[in-house]
Symmetry: D2
Amino acid sequence: MLGTLRNPGRTHDEEPSVTTQATSGARVPRDREHDYTEEQAARRRAFVAEQTGASLQHVGHYSVDPAVLPGNVENFTGVAQVPIGLAGPLHVDGEHAKGDFYVPLATTEGTLVASYNRGMRLLGECGGVRTTVVDDHMQRAPAFLFDDALQARSFGEWVDAHLDDIRTAAEATTRSGKLTYIGQHQIGNLRYLRVNYTTGDAAGQNMTGKATLAACEWIRDHHPDRPRFVLSGAIDTDKKHSQINMLMTRGKRVVAEAVIPDEVLQRVMGVRTRDLFEYRQIGMVGAFMSGAAYNGAHAANGLTAMFIATGQDVANVAESHAGVTYAQLLENGDYYWSTTLTSLIVATYGGGTGLPTQRECLELLGCYGAGKVGKFAEICAATVLAGDVSLTSAILAGDWVTSHDALGRNR
Amino acid sequence: MLGTLRNPGRTHDEEPSVTTQATSGARVPRDREHDYTEEQAARRRAFVAEQTGASLQHVGHYSVDPAVLPGNVENFTGVAQVPIGLAGPLHVDGEHAKGDFYVPLATTEGTLVASYNRGMRLLGECGGVRTTVVDDHMQRAPAFLFDDALQARSFGEWVDAHLDDIRTAAEATTRSGKLTYIGQHQIGNLRYLRVNYTTGDAAGQNMTGKATLAACEWIRDHHPDRPRFVLSGAIDTDKKHSQINMLMTRGKRVVAEAVIPDEVLQRVMGVRTRDLFEYRQIGMVGAFMSGAAYNGAHAANGLTAMFIATGQDVANVAESHAGVTYAQLLENGDYYWSTTLTSLIVATYGGGTGLPTQRECLELLGCYGAGKVGKFAEICAATVLAGDVSLTSAILAGDWVTSHDALGRNR
Amino acid sequence: MLGTLRNPGRTHDEEPSVTTQATSGARVPRDREHDYTEEQAARRRAFVAEQTGASLQHVGHYSVDPAVLPGNVENFTGVAQVPIGLAGPLHVDGEHAKGDFYVPLATTEGTLVASYNRGMRLLGECGGVRTTVVDDHMQRAPAFLFDDALQARSFGEWVDAHLDDIRTAAEATTRSGKLTYIGQHQIGNLRYLRVNYTTGDAAGQNMTGKATLAACEWIRDHHPDRPRFVLSGAIDTDKKHSQINMLMTRGKRVVAEAVIPDEVLQRVMGVRTRDLFEYRQIGMVGAFMSGAAYNGAHAANGLTAMFIATGQDVANVAESHAGVTYAQLLENGDYYWSTTLTSLIVATYGGGTGLPTQRECLELLGCYGAGKVGKFAEICAATVLAGDVSLTSAILAGDWVTSHDALGRNR
Amino acid sequence: MLGTLRNPGRTHDEEPSVTTQATSGARVPRDREHDYTEEQAARRRAFVAEQTGASLQHVGHYSVDPAVLPGNVENFTGVAQVPIGLAGPLHVDGEHAKGDFYVPLATTEGTLVASYNRGMRLLGECGGVRTTVVDDHMQRAPAFLFDDALQARSFGEWVDAHLDDIRTAAEATTRSGKLTYIGQHQIGNLRYLRVNYTTGDAAGQNMTGKATLAACEWIRDHHPDRPRFVLSGAIDTDKKHSQINMLMTRGKRVVAEAVIPDEVLQRVMGVRTRDLFEYRQIGMVGAFMSGAAYNGAHAANGLTAMFIATGQDVANVAESHAGVTYAQLLENGDYYWSTTLTSLIVATYGGGTGLPTQRECLELLGCYGAGKVGKFAEICAATVLAGDVSLTSAILAGDWVTSHDALGRNR
């Protein structure tokens, strides 16, 4: 979702990159008027064959109509066919997601679907996964430049005092985005603003970019210093993991939690909750020492597979895979396991969600379109928990218990 | 690549998750003998329709033969069709990659292809991108458990003394993996080993997992304490960004660099190198303050699109998007711009690289199969640089220069 | 400042640690009634001599009256004599600090005073250091425990709705502390509250601890769930560096900035501003890659020496040394250099500030007592900038220019 | 320890900062020939009185002979008297430290000594603290600059091939420093070397700086490119916390560990081991989410007080307070508690260790002089553990159990 970062005042077709040939290599064929057609796609595949000798026969096999692709891709040439496996049922007892779900996972990594499936089965035996979206913030974070730190600080006060006007300017650009609050962080003579929004069922990076640009222009035009700014001072940390995301949320902050009885874990996974908890200490310490973005097992795997299947902006795996596992061994031996995804960026509207296979996968989850993003976020988190339960148990069952049996655990 | 983490001694088909129905929801249909067939896929699509009412018509449209999918997916049901746009030519002057490349980008995010394309054009006008793989390490990181810290420390010395034997045990499990070194990090009575390998043209997570399991078992069987261990102590940070990855490399550490003349940047992007450098300071500070995984613009976007197109393990975007931008403004006004991806995990062999559309996209880059992974890594890094040049310039052209023109920069 | 964390309802003298001898080693002599006397101190020195053979002759040489030490130390035995060197004049043009200051630096590290002194001289030639306190937050951060994430989220809303009552409860315990806002961060079924205060001229850790305990008890008594809590959930990050401190401020966030003409830098330091800026890029990248708490040179050195001299809680160097250097090379060759200390914890009242030598050193800066903490914070930041200018220049003058002269910089 | 960073070839007395008066403020009196005398100190105190009106009467009260201070401080004016309280006995069962120790804590923070004392008593009842130094590395980390990444990579190979020569060059500058290994980290066309040493009983920052300068000059003179370098590329992270320190050790990596029976903890602290472990999960998560340098309670407090008392470079609290707490609740209810200080920088020789009160405090611990640094490091770690046990128990006893009693823990 890079649209807002384009050079304003230029449309895409006007970009010189498309109209002139600049390097020794031949230019990718493009038709200014009618580029989103099967003919153009075929022409580009032929171009590839000519230039590189590579056939794109399978790439050229698809059912999507090129005419629907403006806004999703340029220089359309064909598709990647990513295999989808079905995992489930995943029993979710959330606020928005309730019931049994079959989760489409688009992946080329063997065992992934089976592993998530196994975790879902275990959690089903435990009564399912509770899920809750606990926070919701999408942001764009400009930096304003001043002569000195004092000016920058005063500017911050001015921003607080003019929040209503700024909000009005920002929200004028969007129907669904709502400016919630502006975080401020000063370094030297720079004042970074982290402008936070709720964005309805869209992921919202474009929406917040556009709204924040309007906000910045309003500020620039109304603040007596007419301050220079840059639309991103890098603390939105778009498409990057960051500690600020983990702390202050980016996208949805969503919790999946379950209580796992020792008996069920032993029966299904061959692992004791006590061992799980012992291992939790080791994994926490390892994650802390190594400065990891996640102290659980592998949120990225399930999320990526769901993101590809459902038309999410898959690059947001960079942010979305971060999170915090928090667990307790209860006195009765049950294991409380929670996963909190602190920066889950998802949409059920806009972006790739309306493309044919992607929409079908969202519909399969009952998550296509307006009013569904909370439900989808909850299913994502529940899936992550299932995958973490499964992989963690596998690690312990394979390596840990063996040595445990041989050697005893408290010699 | 989760294979090595399966419960050893059990095959996938024996897993109870597949043979019993455990929850209220109906079980996904599966045929133990002949599951990788179009009939089974269709049966699952019908199951979905029955259970959820959702049609998977487009998902069912594909040219991949289900029979090739064992090892890539379970419960195969169809495919995600992810549109591919073509960017290029990208002129690369690397060690392994030389010449003009057309880069297939599988994405649903509008502007992405156009933006990378524009960056490639600019870099082409600057003579292209130099690329170098400067380090190469894939790892699995077990933790060994001892009674006290002194035992754990002694164990570390023992490991150093027995490195050759450990290497022999590890390498017996793989043809292409080579154990390079074992990093050691102690916390309390735990000794974390970070076992490093080169893995040929494979990404190597499975290979290193299997080899390290063999190494651990050799250690357990030969060390006088018969120590307990867990195959992952979480400092391999598989599928997670981490600082240890950034410091010590995970996968390929690859540099893309270019020198951009001020004149070219102004002409193509409408931005001065001086402004770029001024902005670099702001972006560096923003990234540092927010604890970001990358201090450049958006490595994740290009990498994700390439990963989907070429059959990489896309979840590795979690690790691969991390990196460090380092730039200097030269005395003549040229801008030296480097991007170092510190944990780029890629393959040209194994995983999803052999699937039909994925293989075609690798072939289009001349990167399919043995001996190509360095070349592919270099093209990835060059693509990232192109995208960063383009987006950064867009940010400045849109917001910065405007205010600059109006207000002057050194009032 | 650990007082608030004591077991409530017990006074210090009642603690069993003091009244029984528990180990094989002899107990440190203590007089319950009259422990803060020279006799008792001498008795303890004699005890040491007897137990260990070590003479504490110099430790026993001091002018502080033991009778003033309750609240500052237990088992008083003597003093550490830490040499103080005087650096200055440091010319500061701040909001609170204006004019020339002589900075007392208590250190045993040779060159430190000389190095800071040199930096102060340079900055004086540049017109001095501008300083601004841009934010001010001290905090205690309890965690509240719930059955599930939904309860925890609802609790968060309840806290927002009852902020006035919570503030009243908190502020009833303190004359100078003001509760400013409560940050909330949820993980699983835990709701972390980061309760922020301004604390007048005190550092405020005790004050905020006490006030937050009152707030927590009010919450527990009034919220329908009567939730369990722990007074610190570790995100106050007391006595630890943290990213949350860098982002959200702990103590004072204070900026020191100066514009350094190339001519002055060359004359005084033998270094060009261009070289400084080239090196800035290298240092920024190094700090980013290594996950450092500060991307400048050595804030810890000057701060520690000032903290010891002036009776600060020196352990707060852990937090206070963190910060962000932000610089720009201006078009005329001048160098804008700013240092932002993001978590500077200082006091001019309470703690050790009233002890004899400590008070004298504060008085020497015109910073003793009420209404002085902003001034002191500004002098701290200006001192840090002086030290960073000096050390950075030394690094470049010693190693960089030499090779530069020999080899040229743009071959 | 800034000595090696001075401008080489200049002695301190030749620095212009001392010989010219540059600013409006009056210059601090200094005598080039005989500056380390009581007369000069008194003259400076008089100067302060004249300039600022502040009396330095107590600062002027000391027993240290100014003549011993060259190398420790410049512009000596007097001393800070920092009160010392005695905690102990601390029972240590380490490799180097064995027996009961009385720990001198120089602090102005009330409760600190009492709190550590209480923890020592508890640990004494548990049989004392086991301690082990598990790693030892001091470093200086230059960066070498090249035209491109390929050159930089080749340089890295050259360094590996010439390690013996480099070591010889480095070790020629020092009697006790031994170059152990050179870590390499490349970013763009920069090659960062992290040169690691053991440094005997000194902290070693100066020693390693000098040795590394010699190594760099040898490299520059022998490598065909005659590469430019800067002595610190900032990844030594001198005087800063960093993740690289936590991972790769800076100074001593030392573990303190104890097994605490539930009965003892309840009797002495009024807290159950189960509660401690429940709280551990909360504190770990809080530390992880906030990006903290330490996931224990307050290492900085005890270390700072010991550092001031014993003449350590107190600014190293910035690095030394970092670490990792790792704990397990054993099946019998005992609590295994370990603290690993990953970057403890200490000395028993050089720096401030030989000054009168500082030496006395080291002697009191049996840690003055050659061959004692391991012992001192172990006592430091044991003290930290005692303080963490005490404070953590206090938090729980005060706030946790109360609510627990009222409400029950597993409703």
